[in-house]
Symmetry: D2
Subunit: 354 residues, 4 copies
């Protein structure tokens, strides 16, 4: 993309009522490039609420423009009238599947935080029951998986960004360098034992995200069938035999830690592993690679856009444990979306994210 970076962008957010939506609103309100052009905020299509933004999210009060803004029922006319250039979708995936094509038809770029456009292979999409038509098939091929560390240039020129899943981001960033370097024994297979805070389950009230279920507890779920598996397979080029992913529900509000078990093709050295990660992420300011044996922990990444990676190698050099941490609402959702927006606008990818 060679066009000069704009000074600002006209932004709208659809679906500001949820947890990721609220964080997205906070990031956009405090983004230095958007100070003069505050975003438009909309409820989800089903939500006809018209309410002050700070009544919905009192924690945003006092941020630039926040107290003057409202959350309105969504309508395309307003988007066009106000010259919206980028639309963030923080809606259920079914809705995002319908809305993205319309936005694009109006010349509005889309950053979709749902799973609607993440998956190129129909069988992987099947689990989401997404509609497939010739038109969506065509559009799907143009969607860019919004992992700035893997697809930065494609993101910069994309019209439709499929913002990655939180678990998927955590595991993909841990594995991509090793797989690209052909270091992993894929006959043995990879184990990704992942643990997430409760906000990962969204804001809809369910027994499992009640305080009494989640507090002082730990539970595994979706053991052989979590929906993010498709993203892992596609982005990492693996078959379902080659990686096993088990999520757990942690008794904390936010944060993911993934413990990833790898058998190496050949006995490795700490230095060779460290170099592999360092080189892969040399130009990625939002990935922090710790010096082995130091390991990431959730507390270091919560409320940041960083993904922290660290590893330890078995004494015989054959087995590797990689730990990956991020904030599921930020690097796993809204701040990664803003990172993508920065790239699309030609700004530095970290603007507004530190």
């Amino acid at each position: 993309m060679v066009r000069p970076a704009a000074n600002t962008l006209h932004i709208a957010v659809l679906g500001v009522t949820g947890y990721a939506g609220a964080e997205l609103a906070r990031l956009l309100l405090t983004h230095p490039r958007l100070a003069q052009t505050p975003p438009l905020f909309f409820g989800r299509e089903s939500e006809t609420l018209s309410i002050k933004l700070t009544s919905l999210h009192p924690q945003l009060s006092g941020l630039p423009n926040a107290d003057d803004l409202s959350v309105s029922p969504f309508n395309w006319e307003q988007l066009q009238r106000e010259g919206i250039e980028v639309l963030f979708l923080a809606t259920p995936h079914e809705q995002a599947r319908e809305l993205a094509p319309i936005a694009l038809s109006y010349g509005i770029k889309v950053i979709d935080l749902s799973a609607a456009w993440r998956l190129q292979h129909a069988p992987n999409r099947a689990i989401y029951k997404l509609e497939d038509t010739p038109a969506t098939d065509t559009l799907q091929k143009t969607a860019v998986y919004g992992s700035p560390e893997l697809h930065g240039p494609a993101i910069a020129s994309a019209q439709l960004i499929a913002n990655p899943g939180c678990y998927a981001t955590s595991i993909i960033l841990a594995l991509a360098p090793l797989l690209r370097a052909n270091m992993v024994d894929l006959n043995i297979g990879i184990i990704a034992d992942a643990k997430s805070g409760v906000s990962g389950a969204g804001k809809a009230l369910t027994p499992n995200n009640s305080f009494m279920y989640a507090a002082d507890n730990l539970s595994a779920y979706a053991v052989f069938g979590h929906r993010h598996t498709g993203e892992l397979l596609e982005q990492l080029g693996l078959t379902s035999d080659q990686i096993q992913f088990t999520p757990h529900l942690l008794p904390i509000p936010r944060g993911i830690l993934s413990t990833i078990y790898i058998r190496l093709n050949e006995p490795g050295s700490i230095k060779s592993i460290q170099d592999t990660f360092d080189e892969f992420y040399a130009s990625s300011p939002m990935v922090r690679v710790r010096r082995s044996p130091a390991l990431p922990q959730i507390q270091h990444v919560v409320r940041t856009n960083f993904c922290d990676l660290g590893f330890q190698l078995s004494p015989d050099g054959k087995r590797l444990v990689v730990i990956s941490c991020l904030d599921n609402l930020l690097k796993g959702a809204s701040s990664q979306a803003v990172q993508n927006m920065n790239l699309m606008a030609g700004w530095h990818e970290i603007e507004g994210l530190l």
Copy 2:
């Protein structure tokens, strides 16, 4: 009550699906007097579920009889057929208001964990929108407020026990000794600043008992209008000007701590206050009075039937802070109900509660 204590009782529980119901089930299953006569368990009237008890509450598996028991739709025929003597009601208060008279008409005693029968004064009942008829008015007068420390003899011979509220138990036990001794300056008024774990809000899913609302948070609610206020006024003989009660939602599963601010009529001594508490509770094994300046804390009472009391006196002897702690699901609900059952059966009040 002079009739000899029975060896056992035939018990039924209506409303075993909630938190207090599950704890009640646990206590009854492990009660030494009930080993040969396991209780009948029913869902609430609106719940037509028929399910194994341990499918509903896996944590009860392995307890005596637990794996053989079911939770059935409620029906009076079964109660009569099986000779039920005591019915625990762990239902919404509207239901308890309807069911208690029917049970009593069948000769079945009732221990009602709801607020349906706690309040003698109609204005205090109004907040619960309870039906008042001549029949309920008459029955109401016979209901005994199930605070074993205050009304032990009346409980022993009661047909209908109104099991106290959790906040109310905590505050009443802290204040009763001082008020009976006329030590409190009621012109100034009492402040009861109370904090409760999330289970106090019940199992129905609401935004405020979601993990994301309650965790890492603290919030006050029902500031000038919590429903338990009526119990405080009636049991302590106070007017609404004389006590101000403010509940807060703590980010813990269970436990209440009440911090109670009292101005004394006359400057007191630590010894006189300590003696007042000690004497009042000399025969109450479930109230533990700490030696000032030691204070109770929630961790000491959680998962027990104890109410812990402690206090500190200002250097000038005029102002007193009393701290009261209990487990809202146990002493504040189900274990106090079992304590009442023990008294009604002529057993020692602590049986099955340590």
Copy 3:
């Protein structure tokens, strides 16, 4: 202060190892005015460590300049050599009492986060066992209590800022408007029931800040003798009979909620109370006054520099409950210190704080 605002400041921080020190480091590293002049960071005088900043606080890695900075043993020569203009002290109060006069003698302004210089009245200082000499007496009189909402102009021209205590900030901001308006019945006295997260206790390992003590617990402490009481009395112009302050330890990392009970001199209206707060804080961007009956909660202020205030009035207009929330490490310590720095530099007080 009429001198023009500088573009930047040369800053040093003594005591970056603790929780407030780490937060202060984060705020200074991301402060837009300090991007070209990263602060010098020192351990406490007793700590001779020389270590990379991001080894000490891995969560700071990736912030501007952070990975290039070290934490060094403190020495005055370096401060002078590098032209330090403002020294933050995040040390125990005994040390701050010794160091502040030395810094001032070198022409370096001081923002002291300890209690060393907060108290003008010797009896209030006595509890801290602070040294009193004619020199410290003279200096004490020049110290400005760093509450920007109360003493903004004095802060702007101060040489020595005594940054307020966390509990004290919470309670003072709640009461100052009402006391200034003579609305409070001081014969009855004020009750401030305050609850704080564990970070308020500092980083030194003690039984009471261990996870096993604090988690799932609540406990009152320092019932008639918390050290912050002196700040309340001096800043609010009260006698010790007129306010009673009881702190509690909450099972959360950070955040304070104070529930404050007030009897009004004359029955008030919601509007009059709301107006009193609104007018008092009309020019204070870091205090957010909620519309009654909405109340603050800890979750809304954590990780921000805001103090949130809200209130409810009894139906008869005589009794008032004010709720005040802030983050004890930020508005209660480090971000309030930065707010003070902004005022001293002639910058807008919120710079770098949103």
Copy 4:
């Protein structure tokens, strides 16, 4: 063991100050067989404290005999004078290595909760730096690993019980049935990803068991070198290449969940796996095998002596995930010790444990 079961036992506990010691005290005080012969409680050898038991552990007040008991400095004379038959050691392993032989020489049986006597192979003991002499070598061979589900008969006649580690218990009980049935492909190797609450780290104050470190966090530790690994290898008959165990620190007070990844020798069926577990634990009342796909969670086992097991099988029948949960202070320490005591006394193993 054919001698008739005694009605009671004379018990002493050395090391009642820690978390497991406090739980052990609670279990022994409420044990129906010990009501007439309350245990003697001692501090650790280094602790010369003489204190009321309920001053040390206020939560025990009100339990049978508790308020009359003291914790005394340890001395052998008193043990002999009072005819102690079983000594529980809840001390560091170095101390337990010294004390057990002395107790046995006095004819006192020992249940050691430390790791001192768990390991038969010197290399596995080396990590604990335990003293090895000909005498300890001989004694070591007689020590019985106190897993009632694996070694019930040997426990019944043992003089010296090495009570298992908490992580080890969790993983061994999950794997023993499958390994005994030769179902596990040991060429691939087993992954045991385990997560424990903070009490597992003991009561000594360390940075990592402070509230501010552990709360809202998750971290892996001891990745290729946790000390419990030796127990796994010896009890399961595995080599260190065949199992990889990674512990994590959960932000909860107590409870362990282990997620265990197994490749099967041959594709299995849910029924065959279920039967394997059911048959293995048919006579083990403290192990609860859940029906697949139901899985254990920590909340179901906390404050109980149960170990819950559950599993799910991949659609192709080749990969198995077993989840194992227990309370690290109970089944992972003190209640398993009481279970062993019950077996040694000829009582039912669950007495006093429900």
